[in-house]
Amino acid sequence: MISLDCDDLFDTWRQQARWLLSHSIDPSRVSWAGEREADLFASDESCPEQPGPFRARIPQALLELLQRAACYRGEQRWSLLYEVLWRVSHGDRTAMLSGDQLGSELQRRIKQVDREAHHLHAFVRFVRLPEGRSSLAEQPEYVAWHDPAHDILAPASRHFIGRMGRHRWMIATPRDGVYFDGEHLHHQRQCPTGWQQLAQAGDDPGGELWLAYYSHIFNPARLNPKVMQGHLPTRFWKHLPEGPLIPALISEARHGKQRDGQASAVAARRGKRIGSGQ
């Protein structure tokens, strides 16, 4: 059994996998660090030093699939990729397709990763930072805290470069962090504590407008919390400013105060009929 460590970096894994493949080393003889804690059968078989004779032809499409699936955090993160690579390079292209057992797991991971990138684009909430709050030479104007389930921050956060123009912004997570200084995107694999503190500072002047909008655009006569939870998983609620409003909105609607679509705060205001001759 060969044990490898790629430090959860795709490029390192790719080098290792190319090496293994050139020696035709079967997937059952390899594991990557962190995948098995105490391996009973681990014998310190080492990796050959010279590249081997087998030259595999890898379709470009496969490389892209593997790179996307590599962002997935979970069991057998790297050995699954090697198994797919092994089968395709030995002529079995079904390993890439979701009809196949292995392929369907690969595709499922890609789907999870894409979904998580989409969650970042959707659920990040920037807060404007008051001037002079940070020791960074040029401090970010907008900061956000996010907790993604997969390693998507670095590639997926590029989305905000197009969106925010020349604004400087930062997204901190429990693991890594990104900072855009107006021209370049900087990724730190270990998010600096300073960034994390900035992103979690809490006060948000002007935030009440969004909360007012959220609670008034909701139609209580059509309450359907199950559908909401399917699209907006509960784990994101605590980081969203509107998250704390949700339970109260649901229970108010459920307890029969709402027979029509109007928000109760609007119903409490004085109305105005308009003369027809106007």
Binding site: S98, G162, Y214, F218
Partner: protein
């Protein structure tokens, strides 16, 4: 009145419009430039409210003062609701603020009719112009179009907006006459034609200024009068055909405060709205025609989906051999969608399709099982009568406890 109060009233007044899509816009980016916003054709749902609807755009009315008296509408002039009016600058400020917070991907602006159709339309265009020209905003803009407005104003709107929409509201002239006396199907369709013409003019002209690149959509209210599903879907089909509409939205009539006697007090079952969306998707995505889904006037069945209903009526076509059948026919099998069809076609280029492949692709096997053949499977139910299959496959309502407050 404070901005937050206006926002509360004018968001509350805008919630009955179902449309919220922010997709279909061309690629735009603010990378390295002044201004704000991007779009890439994909919509983003930034939040969901507890009614299960997505929040993708800041959806507000410019004002809910209105000269019209449409019976189904909470903002009709005889309605006793609080009224407010934004200035164009206030809408711009809110849009940019929410956009920077990453709460929305753009603006969906509509309005009650004040003074005249032209004046109202001018105000809407003014907001879009400020956003695009003064603030270099590259996010999504959807403008509601006022049917009787000057075509020149509609053309201006098309320069700034990604999407324009004119609401049909009720698909028959009779319905409009009874419930929305100030509206006319003729002028609604005229406005749709103006937008359609604008889209066609810039088609294949890469240098022409853009015109509503995300197309036009409309909305029909379901259950405010007694129009049946067949009429609704046939008119949707005509709209898709005549004006190349991107979407028709169906909005189940939602009871409004101080409801007039001319409209029902209760909402139609939300399932009816759901079935209409399913049938609409069959028209847009699967190549069905409305005539295939209806044998005559009437509603869609609530207890089976329209694709299953169609398959049960056309048993002579089934079971289909997944290893041979045309993709367009495979996608007509209940429980097998466009994605699964595509995956099956990819897979069968490599090898024969087996029964377990379908289980892995997460299609709805219980619905699909009687209708297909694979190299290792032939349905036992192939000879079962449609009536019996219907009994086996229809949705049975879950027993529900009555609410304590009724």
């Amino acid at each position: 009145m404070q901005l937050i109060d206006k926002l509360s009233i004018l968001a509350d007044a805008a919630k009955y419009d179902a449309s919220c899509a922010s997709s279909g816009a061309p690629k735009r980016s603010s990378e390295g430039s002044s201004g704000l916003g991007s779009s890439n054709g994909m919509g983003i749902c930034h939040s969901y409210t507890p009614d299960g609807r997505c929040v993708s755009l800041l959806k507000v009315l410019l004002t809910n003062f209105c000269l019209y008296d449409c019976q189904y509408c909470v903002n009709r002039r005889s309605s006793d609701v609080p009224r407010a009016r934004f200035s164009p600058e206030e809408v711009v400020r809110l849009t940019l603020d929410f956009y920077r917070r990453n709460c929305v991907s753009g603006l969906f602006l509509s309005s009650g009719i004040i003074r005249s159709a032209d004046y109202t339309m001018e105000q809407l265009v003014q907001v879009a112009r400020l956003l695009r020209e003064e603030h270099e905003f590259r996010g999504y803009i959807h403008l509601k179009t006022i049917p009787d407005a000057d075509p020149l104003l509609i053309e201006q709107a098309g320069r700034y907006a990604d999407r324009l929409s004119v609401n049909v509201e009720l698909p028959t002239d009779q319905g409009l006459k009874t419930l929305a006396p100030e509206k006319h199907l003729g002028s609604i369709k005229q406005a749709m034609r103006t937008i359609y013409t604008g889209e066609q003019t810039v088609l294949n002209e890469p240098r022409a200024p853009r015109f509503a690149p995300a197309g036009q959509s409309t909305q029909m209210i379901v259950g405010a009068d007694d129009t049946d599903d067949s009429t609704i879907l046939h008119s949707a089909e005509a709209l898709y055909g005549n004006f190349r509409l991107r979407r028709v939205y169906y909005s189940a009539f939602s009871p409004i405060p101080n409801s007039p006697k001319s409209v029902p007090l209760a909402a139609p079952p939300l399932m009816r709205e759901h079935r209409l969306y399913q049938a609409d998707f069959l028209l847009r995505g699967y190549g069905f025609s409305a005539n295939e889904l209806f044998k005559g006037p009437g509603h869609l069945a609530l207890d089976i989906d329209p694709k299953l209903a169609w398959a049960l009526d056309n048993r002579s076509l089934f079971p289909l051999d997944l290893n041979r059948a045309e993709p367009a026919l495979i996608s007509r099998i209940p429980g097998i969608g466009l994605r699964t069809t595509q995956r099956l076609v990819e897979l069968r280029r490599e090898r024969r399709i087996r029964f377990e492949d379908l289980a892995r692709m997460r299609c709805v096997l219980s619905k699909a099982k009687p209708f297909f053949i694979t190299s290792d499977y032939h349905p036992q139910q192939a000879e079962t009568s449609s009536a019996l299959l219907y009994q086996q496959l229809r949705d049975r309502p879950q027993p529900q406890q009555m609410g304590l407050w009724g």
